[in-house]
């Protein structure tokens, strides 16, 4: 077996490991090390969160390590990453569960290891957390729905584009939509279909619904990506409808400016990433943090998008004092 093909065999292996070593980011900077768990690499919403977190870490002199499943939204992947992260012993963890129920054992593992955890965006069904930082999804859906229905004059046909089946955000937002619809007896809900928070799926679903129903006046989308897909479908079919969505991304702002999107309720990823990281770092430094963190969630339309009309790379985290001043806390 000791022939000169051994060199040939090992060459690709050496190259591979060389690449791995050179690209490793072993966080060895002094200061607090925060581990951020997001759901996937592809949804721009989580990139906003990562950028916000990175900015907060930079401002507060902490280091940030990212854990993202290699298969998008994969439960086993995230579970393994939690175990691997515990070996590294980060000082604190900012955690978005890919599934708010199935990841509970993972949170309990971190609790058992004595690592403080901040729960971000998706409210976990169990485990101990320093704080919950996230939007009130039911309110997001309700405000978004009410805005749309009022603009429709309180009458007409609407469709709902839901998110992912097992997502707590999606369920809560849709429940908010339904409550809004219930307040307007002259409004008919034609259909409520899942778009998986994805553009192409929402496009195809909307396309098919446009066939099934000759009169659609409003579309309630549970996130901006799906709204974009619905808008493409409407454009292609030469149909008009008012569309509202949730998230407040730059793309949504551009669509609002162009008159394609009516409004997007702000549940901004960048700011959530900022705050989640700030909460973790402040907790490590013994500073007070609220247990529940809520955001002002304005409905952003063409009158008030100013702040959000910038790509995330150009934004920077608001100051903590500024944030806690305007925010609703349970004490209010």
């Amino acid at each position: 077996m000791m022939t000169d093909t051994r060199r040939g065999r090992l060459a690709p292996v050496v190259v591979l490991t060389g690449m791995l070593i050179s690209c490793a980011q072993t966080g060895d900077t002094a200061g607090d090390e925060i581990a951020l768990f997001t759901k996937n690499q592809t949804n721009p919403y989580f990139q906003s969160i990562r950028l916000g977190a990175a900015d907060a870490a930079r401002q507060l002199d902490a280091s940030l390590v990212h854990y993202v499943p290699t298969r998008p939204d994969s439960i086993p992947d995230q579970m393994s990453q939690i175990e691997d992260a515990i070996i590294k012993r980060p000082d604190a963890v900012v955690f978005i569960p890919v599934d708010f129920q199935a990841m509970v054992p993972g949170v309990e593992k971190m609790n058992a290891a004595g690592i403080p955890v901040v729960n971000l965006t998706d409210r976990s069904a169990g485990g101990q957390f320093v704080s919950f930082v996230g939007c009130d999804d039911h309110r997001l859906g309700l405000d978004s729905g009410l805005y749309l229905l009022e603009r429709m004059g309180g009458r007409g046909n609407v469709i709902i584009l839901e998110g992912v089946g097992g997502s707590s955000n999606s369920k809560a937002r849709v429940a908010g939509f339904m409550e809004a619809i219930a307040r307007f007896p002259d409004v008919t809900l034609l259909a409520s279909q899942p778009g998986n928070f994805q553009r192409l799926q929402a496009l195809q679903v909307t396309e098919n619904l446009l066939q099934a129903y000759p009169q659609i006046d409003g579309v309630m989308a549970a996130n901006d990506s799906m709204a974009a897909g619905a808008i493409e479908a409407l454009d292609a079919a030469n149909r008009q409808a008012l569309v509202t969505s949730i998230n407040g991304t730059k793309e949504a702002v551009d669509a609002i400016k162009a008159g394609k999107l009516l409004a997007s309720t702000d549940c901004n990823g960048f700011v959530q990433g900022c705050i989640g990281t700030m909460v973790a770092i402040r907790h490590l430094r013994g500073l007070p943090v609220p247990a529940e963190f809520q955001f002002p969630q304005p409905v952003v339309d063409n009158t008030n998008y100013g702040d959000l009309d910038r790509p995330d790379e150009e934004r920077s985290c608001p100051s903590w004092e500024g944030l806690t001043e305007g925010l609703l806390t349970p004490d209010d």
Partner: protein, 315 residues
């Protein structure tokens, strides 16, 4: 072979009849054009892979290919012109295809593993390249490629027609085509009779990649945006269309027109389910049953001999 196609067309007609009875919304011009558009997109992607399957191979990397090609094209269009974007997508798709071919022919990696590994590598490159961003908002003229109409028909339908015509000529009436079928039927015999097997395999994998590049342009135009996960849900429907269309995984049997009919059939099913408001959760079940049924009809009527090859074999 002809009878297989006939059965399938019959199936399409029966399905259309059933849907017409079930809902008013089905038999309208706009709905049928939508179905054609959606099926054309699946067909464009599946056409190249059909050639690969004809040689008893497999290409699992097409979804990831569409993703990277679309993202590269998007950046190119934003940086320069639409033509640059189209060229970039085709080049990207072709490169991935040729790398697959290289692994299969020169490095003797079984197609299943080669293209599966390529899937992960391409995904990794796409994720890194896009860094979680979306590139959106493209010129009107470009968007027409995906969502526009020409003389009343959706533009993708013309692309589908061109692909079907050219592909049909290629597979049925050129030596290349005959050789591809021969390789699928019995690679060893083909080699012995002087067919340049390696070159033909490189050709089909390259074409599979190039068609993924082409399909990525149309998807990009239709969606008017590029994200890293554009291609992820596209692989299984494309392969299902090929299987339902009667192309055999053992190689040597099948056709592009079969793939088209398969694509139309599956798109009709999804369209029907949407129009009838049957929950999305039922879709995998219905698709799975149809795939098995379609192939079973083939097998039962054909009484195919034992496997001559297998998609996981190395060449």
């Amino acid at each position: 072979m002809k009878t297989g196609l006939a059965y399938r067309l019959l199936g399409v007609l029966l399905l259309c009849a059933a849907l017409t009875l079930a809902t008013d919304a089905f038999l309208t011009v706009s709905n049928l054009l939508n179905v054609l558009r959606q099926a054309s997109l699946v067909f464009l992607l599946a056409s190249g892979v059909t050639l690969v399957v004809l040689t008893a191979g497999l290409d699992l990397s097409i979804g990831a290919n569409v993703g990277l090609s679309a993202c590269v094209a998007a950046a190119a269009i934003k940086a320069g012109a639409v033509e640059l974007g189209v060229a970039a997508a085709l080049a990207c798709g072709l490169t991935i295809g040729l790398l697959n071919g290289l692994m299969v022919t020169r490095l003797h990696v079984p197609p299943f593993i080669a293209t599966y590994g390529m899937l992960w590598v391409v995904h990794g490159i796409t994720y890194w390249y896009m860094a979680g961003q979306t590139v959106y908002d493209f010129p009107e003229g470009f968007r027409a490629l995906g969502s526009g109409y020409l003389l009343g028909l959706p533009v993708p339908v013309y692309l589908m027609g061109a692909c079907l015509a050219l592909g049909g000529v290629f597979t049925r009436h050129t030596t290349y085509g005959h050789e591809i079928y021969a390789i699928g039927a019995n690679a060893e015999a083909a080699r012995l009779s002087g067919i340049p097997v390696r070159a033909r395999l490189n050709l089909v994998y390259g074409l599979s990649g190039a068609m993924a590049g082409l399909a990525s342009i149309v998807y990009l135009a239709r969606l008017n945006s590029a994200e890293a996960d554009i291609g992820e849900p596209l692989m299984l429907p494309a392969i299902a269309a090929i299987l339902v269309g009667g192309t055999s995984l053992f190689g040597g049997i099948g056709s592009l027109s079969g793939t088209l009919v398969g694509a139309i059939l599956l798109t009709l099913v999804l369209n029907g389910m949407n129009l009838l408001a049957i929950g999305a959760n039922w879709q995998p079940l219905v698709t799975g049953v149809i795939v098995v049924l379609a192939v079973w009809i083939d097998v039962a009527t054909r009484r195919a001999p034992a496997a001559a090859g297998s998609p996981v074999r190395a060449e």
